[in-house]
């Protein structure tokens, strides 16, 4: 996921170089704001990014949603279907978390605290997949469905 975010950001930044300024600017930015309004420190760190970036992400989300809809429309089946669904899903989730929720600009301490715990869900998922499979096996044997 982290890698994906970095790649995404580099893609987003390269055409204009705008984002680089947005990120490196942070310290300068806060100094200006403190000087201007004497706001509390938290406010000075406000997440302000070019509208253009949001519009780009919005467009990408539209395209990715259209792609996942087309998977159903053209009725792909089997592993291809699952693969495409999961890929489009993860790309969309990554874009939303990284850009819309500003995770790409937060410090690693927060990023890890938020993104690491949900990984435990994968363990539960594996356990329940095993369990579900076993229940299905028992039902087939005893109820002959």
């Amino acid at each position: 996921m982290g890698l994906h975010l970095r790649i995404l950001l580099s893609v987003v930044t390269s055409p204009t170089g705008e984002m680089m300024t947005a990120t490196t600017d942070d310290t300068t930015h806060s100094h200006v704001q403190v000087a201007q309004a004497a706001q509390p420190a938290a406010q000075a760190h406000g997440q302000q990014h070019p509208i253009k970036l949001y519009l780009l992400v919005w467009g990408l989300l539209f395209v990715l949603s259209a792609c996942s809809y087309l998977v159903d429309y053209f009725d792909f089946q089997g592993y291809l279907r699952w693969f495409l669904i999961v890929v489009f899903m993860l790309l969309k989730a990554g874009l939303i978390v990284a850009v819309f929720m500003h995770m790409a600009w937060e410090r690693l301490a927060l990023v890890v605290a938020i993104l690491a715990p949900p990984m435990a869900v994968l363990v539960l998922m594996a356990m329940m997949a095993w369990e579900g499979d076993y229940t299905n096996y028992l039902r087939v044997i005893f109820f002959g469905a």
Partner: protein, 242 residues
């Protein structure tokens, strides 16, 4: 915070501390605050969202479990959620429209946050109202979908299309998500009103907390809203497309 001039070196160190493991350890072992870039309000919203992630994960995983363990064929979402438009049956079209609707609302929310920080309160408030409108439209479409399915005989304990667990999974998952959207719409309206009035410029106290708010509340509201969109991404993939 001192107003010393920013050198390149300064910026590089700052960047390293933000994104390196070393910086993470330094943040966590420092005094008082671990989350240097997030106020308490934002950190608390993130922590709430993590707990909400677990709730939705449990729903989706239990759905996976019942779907894997049943020996009866699972109903085809593609056909069940098809709509007849102009005499032609289009698969899953309502859900696709709902998806685009929610993504659009996320886009307008992101821009509202930008305008709020730029102190352009009218624009921010209008964009929040647009977001609330798309959210309400989403809930409306969901109500339509529920009505249609209930008329067709889908119940939490059974349905005419296949495995009985389909109904309970559907109503639990989409119901809980729709509930989140509804709460989001209500809070969007409350905060949009405060932004429109300029409460955060004049330091007016909130009716519930009796504390002065800051424009950061728009970003925190945005986090919740984008999370609702994020959950829909997973529901769309696992429940409707799988």
């Amino acid at each position: 915070m001192t107003a010393e001039p920013v050198t390149t070196e300064h910026v590089t160190t700052e960047l390293n501390l933000r994104s390196s493991l070393h910086g993470m350890v330094a943040d966590w072992s420092s005094d008082q605050r671990s989350f240097k870039s997030a106020s308490w309000g934002k950190a608390m919203m993130w922590i709430f969202l993590v707990s909400d992630t677990f709730v939705f994960s449990c729903f989706l995983i239990s759905y996976m479990t019942v779907r894997m363990s049943t020996t009866v064929e699972w109903p085809h979402p593609s056909e069940i959620f098809a709509l007849e438009i102009g005499g032609k049956k289009i698969p899953l079209i309502l859900i696709a429209i709902m998806t685009f609707d929610l993504i659009t609302s996320s886009g307008t929310m992101a821009m509202a946050v930008n305008f709020a920080y730029a102190r352009e309160r009218r624009k921010a408030a209008i964009l929040m109202l647009v977001t609330a409108f798309f959210g309400a439209a989403f809930v409306g479409m969901q109500a339509f979908e529920w009505t249609k399915l209930i008329h067709e005989g889908v119940r939490p304990w059974g349905n005419p299309f296949g495995a009985a667990q389909f109904g309970s999974s559907f109503f639990m998952i989409t119901g809980f998500h729709g509930f989140h959207v509804s709460i989001g719409v209500i809070f969007l309206l409350i905060i949009a009103r405060a932004v429109w009035r300029g409460d955060y410029d004049v330091g007016r106290r909130g009716f519930f907390t009796s504390r002065k708010g800051r424009y950061e509340i728009v970003e925190i509201m945005g986090l919740y809203w984008h999370f609702v969109d994020l959950v829909w991404v997973f529901i769309f993939a696992f429940f409707y497309l799988w």
